[in-house]
Amino acid sequence: MSDMDRNRVPEAGPLRSFEFPDIDRRRLENGLEVRVARTARLPIVSASLFVRAGESSLKHEKAGLSVLSGDALEGGSRRRSGTELAESLEGIGARLDVSTGWEGTSVSVSCLAERLAEAMAILAETLLEPEFPEGEVVRARSQALASIRQRSMDPASLASDAAVRRYFSAGVPFARPLEGTQETVEPLGRNHVRGYAEAFYRPVEGGLVVVGDVHTDEIEALVASCFQGWEGEPPVQGDFGVEPRTRERTLLVVDRPGSVQSEVRVGHVGPERSHPDVFPLTVLNTLLGGAFTSRLNLNLRERHGFTYGVRSRFALRRRPGFFQVGTAVGTEVTAPAVKEILGELEGLVEGGPTEAEVEAARDYIAGVFPLRLETAGQVASRIAELLIYGLPDDYHATYRDRIRAVTVEDAAEAGGRHIRPSEAQVVVVGDAQAIRVPLEALGVGPVEVIPA
């Protein structure tokens, strides 16, 4: 180290290669896809069972039913009460988590490897034999309604919910909050939940991912015994059209008097998960608002001090999702912040990214790849994505190569197609009395003010 010079950035050593863990595939007779990957840093296992029971397949008047059914699963099985199930599970140190999204429902357990057989049996009992006792369904519904009430007074949730209503045309599922609304959740009861689970919690189109200190043959035998007799397929879920509510740029103020900050969202409808532009867009979004040193954050936070942080993202789903910039800014700088955001979007689309920015973004995305695959749970989530979104088996193995292949032209062209500042919907949740006039003066488009 005698040649150390503080003025020089240290040179990187030779890169040690990292490969995404090998995935073993099996398919059970009932149609359930099984994926196993071995990671053996610590004696821990993560198992996740996915079924095609998501909110996007529900008609508007049943919005929230998938989420409610998933939440009510912990209410007990035909054999045991919810508390008894929890005692068995926690007695072996395991945790069970149910998460419901637009595409489906995932029931996951995480436990020490030596406890996997017991944990898997409880997972299967929870999903395959739910009892949904009346009292537990009523409780899950009360909790859901209370959460909806909390969202209605939380500025960040208010902004996100108002934004998707502006992006998507009214009939698109993504225009509503994932967990439904008070009107749609209130009428849901035990019969709805039971009927939903009976129809949708089916092995076909589903998958089980097990990652950790495990062997595939043992997993296959365990799974075959735990899921014996489980059969069938969920109802056919047709594609739905995704249309924007408008192509005219508009500005909505959701009035929350007394707010000391404004929650800002700027966005519009975006591409679907399987779109070929996703790789260049990942690079472009990183340099726009996906990292600390992105254009938006350096401008709004480090140059102007308007905010604690600002991010942009593409919400990628099986059907077209959205592009969005999100931040919270001081009340008095709300209009200047909106102006800067729109200016950055226009600047990026018109001028394109620089070679240096694209290179830095590619390096960042490829470099952090192994950091996001340290744990069994992280690897399991990535493998589950393949099943959920229908991605090819080598998706993760080739991911970094595809990122590294993105050129500055690719990124610029994809940006031109998928970032459209002239169609952006601007949503601001804040104190209308303080922010309305300066926002109108920006002249970005028609301004509407509604109460929170």
Partner: protein, 425 residues
Amino acid sequence: MSDLSIPFERHRLGNGLRIILSHDSSVPVVAVNLWYGVGSRNEPQGRTGFAHLFEHMMFQGSAHVPKNRHFELVERAGGTLNATTWFDRTNYFESLPSNQLELALWLESDRMGWMLPAMDQEKLDNQRDVVKNEKRQRYDNQPYGDWDERLQALVFPEAHPYHHTVIGSMEDLDAATLDDVEAFFRTYYVPNNAVLTVAGDFERSRTLDAIDAYFGEIPAGRPIPPVPGDPTLPPRIGETVRDRVVADVPLPRVILASRIPPYSSPEFAVAEVARGVLGTGRASRLYRRLVRERKVAKDVVSYAFPLLTGASMLLVWATGYEDTRAEDLERAVALELEGLSDAEDAEIARAIAVTETDLVRSLERVGERADLLSMFELYFDDPGRLNRELDRLRAVTSGDVRRFAAERLGPDNRAVLTYVPEAQR
């Protein structure tokens, strides 16, 4: 039951910097983690929030690193980075591909040794604005956002360093000057007040040489001054103290807190287990009774804060439904706190089993390993405690928990903070 054997070795540089190395090459990533023995407890009167504001200034460059370069270099290298400030400490950390280790050592050493030449008024004013927006976003613009300010004021007397919050007050943030930055840096950001941990995939002798080269020439500082104010306080609050807030909140919420022995006390393990019996998992008492059976709470959260200075705090936070009366919610929580005096072996075993899995799972990440090793070294001079954490908990008996409940969780040692929605008033 698993026995932890996370490897580590300890070193110390001539300037007092403590070094921990923990090797694991299963994924080619490495974590660099620094804990400084300074937090909000060290803030003088009139400068609340300064330790955290200072943490932001640490990212504004140093003598050999221009503004924004720190973030740019780490992100370009495929790394992630951040820092956090808490009552007793401030930590800084990077995780990177293992071939980029030296970059992080260079950056961390440059700001430990040569931060001041890069400071100026414009950077301070900019980060003051950023931090004020952080405070607005996380506290002032949120329902219940002032809960910690109110609760700390109830549990800790005015002269105690935990009486004020980590985020501090707007007035004190406004008052901070460049002179404060310099004084704070010279007093607390010295190698003899820090622990550096490197965990993950690295080559031992090269790493030790690099640490010596980058950090060895930083001069030691003076001994760290005692914490301002009066950290001594009675073990119990002495009564039930209350703060009732009628506010624009969606649902009623009560927070009950008790003063408990500090993290350094052997009795803290009992507090952790008692907390687990109350609130870890869906078989825990609070979830089962309040959420599932009586349905007075929508959700319940509990913590035993690992605080060092004089005392710590165990708290339970229960959110009711729209029509729940806050008094009923408070009574229900109090009943469970006091009811721990009949804690049984089976529920203690469950709480420890879940804690064990959670700990093992957290150790899958080298960043988390490094963070825990730094903490145990800085707080207890004993990084090996990581591998004995579970033994410490397993030694707790139902008798210990019962005694703890009787001595610490009664109405003579309770702060009650209640939020009532305006609609209910």
